[in-house]
Symmetry: C2
Subunit: 298 residues, 2 copies
């Protein structure tokens, strides 16, 4: 089954203790697509400026991502600049330039409308609502961020009421529910709409909250995290990608999907930008999935 993702395509400038990557390919929809396409067909809906390098367009196309929904607007592409601390679990955003993203209104062309699985990347909830007016997918998942919880919580809750799944950081669970206990917070979020709450905890893994209980997965132990940018969106790409591939959202498939999300996210952290996702193969995904089995076996 195919997937549509709506979100940012960006040029990222990233500094980590390991080095600096200037104006590399970035954005939530980028990481999501490059991960998900290993599992199922992906339609990318977003916007770039007229300065967006052709080589990145070619890269998406070589990976088989459908770009019908990737608008080209006059002006500069969305840019994000961030610096990671020595502890790469901490980062500061140095600059965000919305540029062409400022006036973006997602328009879903044919194939993107027909996709059964929809991922609403981290954009303003009012834009996420605009997407939901255009389509009726079988499965809707969403990512969000502290900013929208802060300034657009009402609209966010309107979107949430229509979700199947929300993919959210532990700190955002606390912010949204006021609960310092993530377990309790995640349960409360299911009352707002999504029956599936996926709590991302970075280096600490992931907690999946479903009606009938929890599934907990560690992060894959990495000796070196070169650049964790996009790891959350990559996780979402592997998670939704696997569900779409299996065309199932039963309990077992959801658990396996979390591991697939963790597997691709672990690869994404091993180099700057989304490069590791481009060279990734199904064989290497399967190998690391098997290592996850060993990692948690008792």
């Amino acid at each position: 089954m195919s997937i549509t993702v709506v979100g940012s395509v960006a040029l990222d400038t990233v500094e980590t203790p390991a080095g600096r990557n200037e104006e590399g390919l970035g954005g939530a929809a980028t990481y999501f697509s490059l991960a998900a396409v290993h599992y199922a067909p992906v339609n990318l809906v977003g916007v770039v400026g007229d300065d967006f390098p052709q080589e990145y367009v070619d890269l998406f196309e070589r990976q088989g991502i459908n770009l019908e929904g990737l608008e080209r607007a006059p002006g500069r592409t969305f840019r994000w600049t961030g610096r990671y601390h020595d502890d790469v679990n901490q980062r500061d955003t140095l600059e965000t330039q919305l540029n062409v993203f400022e006036d973006f209104h997602p328009k879903l062309p044919g194939a993107a409308r027909k996709a059964k699985y929809l991922f609403l990347g981290n954009i303003h909830p009012s834009l996420q609502l605009e997407v939901l007016e255009q389509v009726e997918p079988t499965f809707i998942a969403l990512d969000t961020m502290n900013l929208w919880i802060d300034i657009a919580q009402e609209e966010l809750k309107q979107v949430m009421a229509r979700l199947d799944a929300i993919i959210i950081n532990d700190s955002e669970v606390k912010q949204l529910t006021g609960r310092s206990n993530v377990v309790k917070g995640a349960r409360e979020i299911t009352a707002l709409g999504p029956r599936i709450v996926v709590v991302k905890k970075g280096e600490h893994g992931c907690l999946l909250c479903m009606e009938d209980g929890f599934f907990a997965a560690p992060a894959f132990p990495l000796d070196e995290v070169l650049d964790p940018t996009g790891a959350g969106d990559t996780f979402a790409g592997g998670f939704i990608g696997y569900l779409a591939q299996k065309d199932s959202v039963d309990k077992t498939t959801l658990r396996q999907a979390v591991i697939h999300g963790s597997v691709v996210a672990s690869f994404a952290c091993e180099d700057f930008g989304p490069g590791p996702l481009v060279t990734l193969t199904r064989k290497r995904i399967a190998e690391r999935y098997a290592r996850f089995k060993t990692l948690v076996k008792f």
Copy 2:
């Protein structure tokens, strides 16, 4: 096989968002013993003052803990006062009164000397060395803290050279190795002596680092953490307790021991003080162990 634990027995005053517990039974050796005794015979080595309530002595004895090594010294018992934040993963120590602990030198009587499994609770590394001069157990594990890493690192490293296992917080791994990556840090610690490094991550579970790889376990998802005091020592009690019960430290047993540690630690968080460990039964341990299997299954 029997276990000897050397560490503090204390009177704890604890404030959490859920309430306050004044001069309750506490201390690392207390939590460890009350957990471990569900698995194997335990000899407690420590010191209390002449103000130590008889009811706590009775409690230890009713639980079957051997108190031959629990010295009674003139003066006041060790006291600790702490306050937890709304987020109970954060706490401040308000007061530490060493009292009789200040002049404590552990002396191991007969049964305590013969135990095959030894847990050196979080005390000054020079005292841990004094213990090692008295015994030659088969398996030695240790807990420590930021203070000793700070002010007694040389002595700590002397102890570490003789360990089989170290049980340590993620923040202590970072402090001891200077590595912000816990995975890399844990590996480096094995070079200092202990072939087994157990990294405790509180609400995020535990990472077991062995020569041939990692085992990762989540924490048991708790809707409410009433009082996490002693959870780390309780974990150690379940971990060493299970190894002693099986009298094995092979790879499979170590993994299962981590889960047993997590199980008993989760119970300990459900009420103030070590009370939940007193009323715990093997049946309830087995039930929660089975729920852990479901929690991580994919």
